[in-house]
Structures are given as structure tokens and as C-alpha cells.
Amino acid sequence: MSQSYVEKPDPALQEVEKSANGRAHRQAAVEASSWSKMVKADSVTGDQDLAYGQPAIVAVRWLMIISGLILAIWNVENLQDLRLSLIVIFLLAITNFYLQAQLLIKKPVIKPVVYGASAVDLLLITFLVATQGGYTSSIYVFYLPAIAAFSVAFPRWLTGIYVLFLMMVYWIIASVSVDSEQMIIIIRLLMIAAVAFCGSLYLTIERARRQEAGAYAEELRLAMGE
């Protein structure tokens, strides 16, 4: 690692360091650190975050549906498993088509429906994991894009509740499975937590940046107008 990479930052970085945004960003992060302030901050901008995040949530669900369909018919072992998988996939597809239609006709976001649909995603993946071997099922990786999609769109407290609940349920299902290894289960749970944490952290950072940049731009406009 060359010393020059550290000692000579980009000229653009120097501009950023001099700006008010850098100092204000840390101040905003400190102020938002308490629980009640976090919930309040989430509720103020939550509708916008959800509106921007909903296309990603819907797209990830289509990905799960198409992948699930291909994988369900790829290695069919018995008719009962195939029936169960197809029922789950078709139910998901119908729900997702409704949400996609809402997006296409630009209807406002109905929060309980979006939150409920993501909860159903996690429940359905959990159901498939539980019925296809628990610990040995590879389906658990579908949790990760589902969590990544909603962690940047949902309020942080809600992401936390969903992920904690999911981790508890998955830990129980995987632990009671045959041939389970606790070490691997813990590592999987850590990575689920990592994805949720990174998504929520990104949401927090970008929200603080937007607020400070907007306030700074407004001050500049007012100053120019004087």
C-alpha cells in the first residue's frame, strides 16, 4: 500500500472536506443516535424512502419468483414438493403483479400492503427452507436480496424487527435439522444481520447527506438572492 494514496487525496476530496456537509453530517449522525429521534427521523422521510425503494422490492420479488419457478422444476424429487413450490410461487406472483400494477399506474404507496408483502416474502422463504431440509436447504440465500431490498426502503426500526424475528426463526429451524452445524448457522445469521445493517446504515447516511445538502443549497440560494 503506497503512502501516496493516503497522503495525497483527490482535489475533489479536499473540496468535500472543506464543505459544510462533512461537519454537518457528523453532527446529524450524533443527533440522530437516540431511539426516539431515530423513529421520528424515519417517519418524516419514510414515505419517500418507501416510494423510491418499492421498485427494487418488486424487482427482487420477480427475481425470486422466476428463480423459484426454474429451480422448482429443475430437480423434481416428488409431486408433493413440486405442488407446494408451485402454489407458493403463484401466490407470490399474484401479489407482486398487484404491486407492479400500482407502480405502473403511479398510485400512491400503501404502506401496510408493502410491509405486509415483504413479511410474506420472508415467511414463504422460511416455509420453503423448513420443508426442504432446513439447515441443508440452499433456499436461505434468497433472504439476502429480499432483506437488502427493504432495508434501504423501510424505517430502520421495522427492518430491525423483521430481521431479528427472521434470525430467531431461522436459527430454530436450522438447529433442529438433521446434520446441522451451529458454527455455520451462526455465520449465516451474521451475514443476514450484516446485509440488513449495511442497508439501514446506507439509508441513514444518504438521508443525512440529502438533508444537509438541501439546507446548504437553500442557504446559498438565499445568500445569492440578497
Binding site: P9, L13, V16, N21, R209
Partner: protein, 197 residues
């Protein structure tokens, strides 16, 4: 000139503020590796070998995190280099783990938060290249260890699931990067015009 400079500044700001996400993703992977090392080592030499790999990773991440806290975060080139080292380290873990290797190895899951975090912070082109690199490295690692296993339909199915979901992480991160960039421009609004006195 004005628009080129603001694009460069936007990218610099994304790196400046966003690298905390990469730092924390790496901390999660390091903690998981520590759990792995402490739990699975059955001899002193195994544990020492693991520690010799984990401690430099911790030192590098501590250095990067420290610089961020001092408001002197590292630049894009170094960030990309360190993220590439993350990918290589995970791939080597998959190839050289003593018990389960290649497709049988469960540590492919370490790729997910690393790819997502990188995609949140970098331009879509960089993040899609990074995602592609992770897919190629993982597939190559599986092929190297047990080429015959990939002719097995069941294992091919598992590999496909893992590659699809890993690719989804990169695409999601790139989508949210673009979305946040558009929202930032909306928040700032049009630039005020200079009126000379």
C-alpha cells in the same frame, strides 16, 4: 467544465461518506471469520494460522475506520484495492479450507455483504464489474476444486441459486446508488445563477 467538476465531486462525496458501509460490512465478515477460527480450530497450529490471516485484515479495517472517524477517509483507488483483497481472501478461504472446499464450502455467503456494500458506494459500472468478478472468482473456485461435481444436476442447481442471488446484490446496490444520486440532485435543486454587479 462546471458539470464535469460536479460529477467528480458527487463521486468523491459518495466515496467520502459511503465508505462507512464497506467498513462495517468488512467488520461483520471479520467477526464471522473470528467465530470460524475459534470454533473450528482443533489444534494450536490451525488457530495460529487463522489468527495470522485475520489480524492483518483487522488491522487494515481498523486503519480505514480510524481515518474515516478523523474525517480523512481513504480515496477511491485504495477503497477499490481493499475491496478486491476482500474478494480474494474469501475465494482463498473457499479453495483452501481444510474440511469442505469449493461447492461444499459454506463461506460463499461472505461475498454477499461485501458486494452489496461496494455497490452502494461505487458507480454502477464499477459495482457491476465488481459483482461480475465475484461471480467469476466463485465459479472458478468451484471448478478448480471439483470439476466433476458441476456435472451433477443438484450441485449445478445450488451453484445457480448462489450466483443469481449474489448478482442480485450487486444490481440492487447499483439501483439504490442511482436512486440516491437522483434524490440528492433533487434535494439540492438547480444551481443559482451568478448575476455580475
Amino acid at each position: 467544465m462546471q458539470s464535469q467538476r460536479s460529477l467528480a465531486q458527487e463521486t468523491a462525496e459518495d466515496i467520502f461518506f459511503g465508505q462507512l458501509v464497506i467498513i462495517y460490512a468488512r467488520w461483520f465478515v471479520i467477526v464471522a471469520m473470528v467465530v470460524l477460527a475459534l470454533w473450528s480450530s482443533s489444534t494450536i497450529s490451525q488457530l495460529v494460522s487463522a489468527v495470522l490471516i485475520i489480524v492483518p485484515l483487522m488491522a487494515i479495517n481498523f486503519f480505514v475506520h480510524g481515518r474515516y472517524l478523523m474525517e480523512k477517509p481513504v480515496n477511491r483507488l485504495l477503497l477499490t484495492l481493499l475491496s478486491s483483497i476482500d474478494l480474494l481472501a474469501i475465494t482463498l478461504l473457499i479453495i483452501f479450507w481444510p474440511t469442505d472446499r469449493g461447492l461444499l464450502n459454506q463461506f460463499y455467503i461472505f461475498y454477499y455483504p461485501i458486494v452489496l456494500a461496494f455497490a452502494f458506494v461505487s458507480t454502477p459500472r464499477s459495482s457491476l464489474l465488481y459483482t461480475l468478478a465475484s461471480l467469476v472468482l466463485y465459479t472458478a473456485a468451484c471448478f478448480v476444486i471439483e470439476p466433476a461435481m458441476l456435472m451433477d444436476s443438484l450441485w449445478l442447481e445450488r451453484l445457480t441459486i448462489r450466483l443469481i442471488t449474489l448478482a442480485a446484490m450487486g444490481v440492487l446496490g447499483a439501483y439504490y446508488w442511482r436512486s440516491q444520486r437522483a434524490r440528492m440532485r433533487q434535494a439540492i435543486g438547480p444551481e443559482p445563477e451568478f448575476e455580475p454587479a
